[in-house]
């Protein structure tokens, strides 16, 4: 049984149909990429999974449980964490408070402190700025914070919305290293990326979204050479 199962999902903004009849699966321990042009509905899909948006129809199952109508905070408690589009750091909170709030659902203080230290090691920039208000961080620094914060809850399923956005090349590499490592430790990841090549290299499978609908999907390593992907997303 897949960890995340989306069946026939449709999401609207008022009259706009952003996602239409989408079905996809993410198996336990898998890294899955979602690609598509601007406005294809990738963000919308992620927001439906993290329960920030209410679908008009379809079901979302997480670890066998129907979470379609669950409030977002409950979803986090089940083990879903998201690094959202637009970062959404808590601007008036310090870097450290943001990270600690990321671990809000966890009870083990010691474990949280250990993870905190680990994040500072991975992103030294955040360590230097732990007392700075998150709102005054540079764009890329905020992006690091958003990712680190999502990791702080030790989720079973990690949703990453364009994690490389705004990051310098060195850090982008670091992010993808982390993705690989986490996955090796058993974390399941659903990844939305514009940098399709990188993402596909880091993932097992890929879904391609167009105008709110799934056009095709497959094993990432095979799709990289697919004409359709090459042309539309890899600039080939």
């Amino acid at each position: 049984m897949a960890l995340l199962e989306i069946e026939n999902l449709s999401v609207n903004y008022g009259a706009i149909q952003a996602v239409r009849g989408l079905s996809l699966e993410v198996g336990e321990g898998e890294v899955v990429t979602l690609i598509g042009a601007n406005g294809a509905g990738k963000t919308t899909t992620l927001r439906a999974v993290s329960r920030m948006l209410r679908p008009v129809s379809g079901t979302i199952r997480f670890a066998g449980r129907d979470i379609t109508r669950l409030p977002p905070d409950e979803a986090v408690k089940l083990g879903v964490a998201q690094s959202p589009e637009g970062r959404q750091v808590l601007a008036r909170q310090s870097v450290e408070d943001n990270l600690e709030l990321g671990a809000y659902v966890r009870g083990d203080r010691a474990g949280v402190q250990a993870d905190l230290r680990q994040m500072y090691e991975r992103f030294p920039r955040l360590g230097e700025r732990r007392a700075q208000l998150a709102g005054t961080l540079s764009g890329g620094e905020q992006q690091m914070l958003a990712i680190a914060r999502a990791l702080m809850s030790r989720p079973r399923l990690l949703l990453l919305d364009e994690p490389s956005l705004g990051l310098a090349p060195l850090i982008v590499r670091e992010i993808f290293t982390i993705i690989r490592e986490l996955n090796e430790q058993g974390m399941t990841i659903l990844l939305v990326e514009q940098n399709a090549k990188l993402a596909m290299n880091a993932s097992h499978r890929t879904y391609v979204l167009e105008a709110g609908q799934l056009t095709f999907s497959g094993i990432s390593s095979e799709l990289v050479d697919d004409e359709r992907v090459l042309h539309a997303y890899l600039g080939g």
Binding site: S50, M52, P71, P72, D73, E74, V76, K77, Q82, P84, Q88, V89, L90, A91, R92, Q93, D97, E100, L101, G102, Y104, V105, L133, G135, T136, L137, S138, R149, S153
Partner: protein, 324 residues
Amino acid sequence: MEPSQLIQNLMNGLAIGSVYAIFALGYTLVFSILGIINFAQGAVFTLGAYFTYALVSGQFENNGLLKGINLFPAGSPFAGNPWAFGLATLIGAALAGLIAVLIERLAFRPMRARGAEPLLALVSSLGVALVIVNLIQLLVGAESYSFPANAYGEFRPALTFNVGDKVVVIRSVQLVIFAVSMVMLGILGYVIGRTKVGKALRAVAENPGTASLLGISVDRYVLITFFLSGFLGGLAGTLVSLAFGIGGPYFGQAFGLKGLAVIVLGGLGNIPGAVLGGLLIGLAEAFVPADYSAYKDAVAFALLFAVLLLRPQGLLGKAQIQKV
């Protein structure tokens, strides 16, 4: 100014200022969480006083639909000594807290769910205030009520001492008000400033969407906040009515506006700010020379205006950071 006068004004200012502060805290809590001004806070304040009164005296004798009903025909268990009275005060405040929760459920939550603009909450809460105030009048009349003199046992109404050859007077209730307010402020300051609950509250305050994305149950924290704010409002109501009697259903209105001035002066959503703002406005009013007492209100607001021009975010408010 003579030293006796100075001390007297200081005492007066601190006493009334601490009431402003505790009243304003209720406002500021709700504001910081939902970004809305809850105009019903003045009405909740009034309710708190009426609840305590009902417990202590058992009945509303004057007018209105509740006339003739006596809760405690055998005499109220809440009257006669300070502890019983204190208990009644707490229960009264808790009831006010529950009303605030109810208000949130009925008048604010559905609106949030529909994505209305936060300003509209002002109108909704104005409606709630109108309902409460006029219901009170229907139920118990427009008369003033005062706690029976024996409600909290026998106390000297005032302490006097000499400074030079002049007397300085402090009313006992002023002392009680000051002490209770400071204790409440301390507790609240601790909870919000130092605990996980406080941290989560601040997250909800800043961005409910993001907070829920981190696993924080926004609805629960909103409820807690409303309960706390109602509790503080109700407590302030009882404290004030202890000193001045319950001045009828409209009693809280004058405080409503002052409370707003206080939280804005101190910095919106800022707890130490509300305290500082309350004390400052209380003191400013107390130090208005007697001959100009007509301008007392204007002084409070002129102070507010002047401070805002110098510090647009209020005294302790943090300047809004805007990284572009």
